[in-house]
Amino acid sequence: MAEKKLSKKALNSGFHRWYYGNLTCFSQEHMQTFGYLCSMLPLCKELYADDPDKMAESMDTYRTFFNTEPQLGAIIVGVTAGLEEARANGAEDVDSETINGLRAGLMGPIAGIGDSLVVGTVIPILLGIAMGMSGGGSPMGAIFYIIVWNLFAYFGMRFLYFKGYDMGTKAVEFLVGDIGNAIREAVTTLGGIVIGAVSASWISVKTSFALYNEAGEAYMVLQEKFDSVFPGLLTAIFVIFCWWLMAKKQLSPLKVMGLLVVIAFVGVLIGFFNPGLAY
């Protein structure tokens, strides 16, 4: 049997579909799942053109939930393109469980790293430059941002996608064997630490609750007590609470968000939360 090889046209189609459609049909339930399905579609069509059952099996692989930082995440999509090609050529170690294990193992860490490097660093730098160019109502800042960001995203994602594809085809054993497990565990640890840093840097849940004496002076400020125990304690508690609701109680993200709305409303009523903002 002739070895199957993905054509440049199919790979380009897969990449462009990911570049444009990674988050277009976003929902809290499925996030980037449909973007991933549509990106893999031209590749699966080419690899399994003569076998509809195998095509269905391979498309079913990508029904599972997926969400990551989309720019850096292009490498994961490229890797699965390579793995799918290896599967089509009969690689024994590559099945749906292996591919999804790799996707699930990499998406969290890549999200943490991508959020800090791209969303937390590159985008603010570009926006800072663009805002500087927008003085006096000039449209140059917006034009600069649109052009530079899209060039960075397009060529960066393209490089990562095709690099991932090369890794997927050339290093199947490396990615799915014991060394692959060691790499995944290392990347998971890296991702966990970065996600912790992202939580503490970007999320701020604070309480405004305080006790006042007769002179109107606060003698017990609850947020200061929390900070003395562990800075950012409330933020960590809420993140772990949301994890517990979704992972252990199997609540959907929508229901968790609804519960947070109720908690926020009750918290505001009793004076536990007060953003203290003004127009």
Partner: protein, 157 residues
């Protein structure tokens, strides 16, 4: 509204009508975008300052609705982080790297890029430890095979 398109998409995937999938990702979401982003933005821009002042008057920042709205805004990102944690955390011990990263930023004031560098070092250490674990059984089985050979030689002697 995107859930509606996705519901249609899952039905098409079940029926193996894959050629309709691009509609779900590239076409229908435009309807959601127009309804919930384009029309409200254009309406507010056209309505102008009087409507903005009306909103400020009817919804003051120290009222319950706006306080709740902004508190929810502060809490909702916790859901996104929790979704990421769901992919990484399998048992309680897996929270330690997360809390370590949290401590780096919250208690030690280390920024995200520096935290990534620190996390990278720990990733290298974990990888090397795992590789040592993998090599240990392989080395043990090789040395036991060599010992058996030596015993045979001794018996021969």
């Amino acid at each position: 509204m995107n859930l509606v398109w996705q519901h249609m998409g899952w039905a098409w995937v079940d029926k193996r009508e894959y050629d309709k999938l691009p509609l779900v990702d590239y076409v229908f979401p435009w309807i959601s975008h127009i309804c919930f982003s384009l029309i409200p933005t254009v309406a507010m821009c056209m309505a102008g300052e009087p409507v903005v002042n009306l909103i400020k008057e009817k919804l003051p920042m120290d009222g319950i609705p706006m306080k709740t709205l902004f508190t929810v805004g502060a809490l909702l990102p916790c859901v996104g982080i929790a979704i990421l944690l769901k992919q990484i955390v399998r048992n309680v011990l897996d929270f330690i790297p997360y809390l370590f990263g949290f401590t780096l930023a919250a208690s030690m004031g280390i920024n995200l890029v520096a935290s990534t560098v620190v996390a990278g070092l720990f990733a290298i250490l974990i990888f090397k430890l795992k590789m040592l674990e993998l090599r240990k059984p392989a080395a043990a089985s090789q040395s036991s095979a060599a010992d058996n050979g030596w015993d045979d030689d001794e018996e021969d002697i």
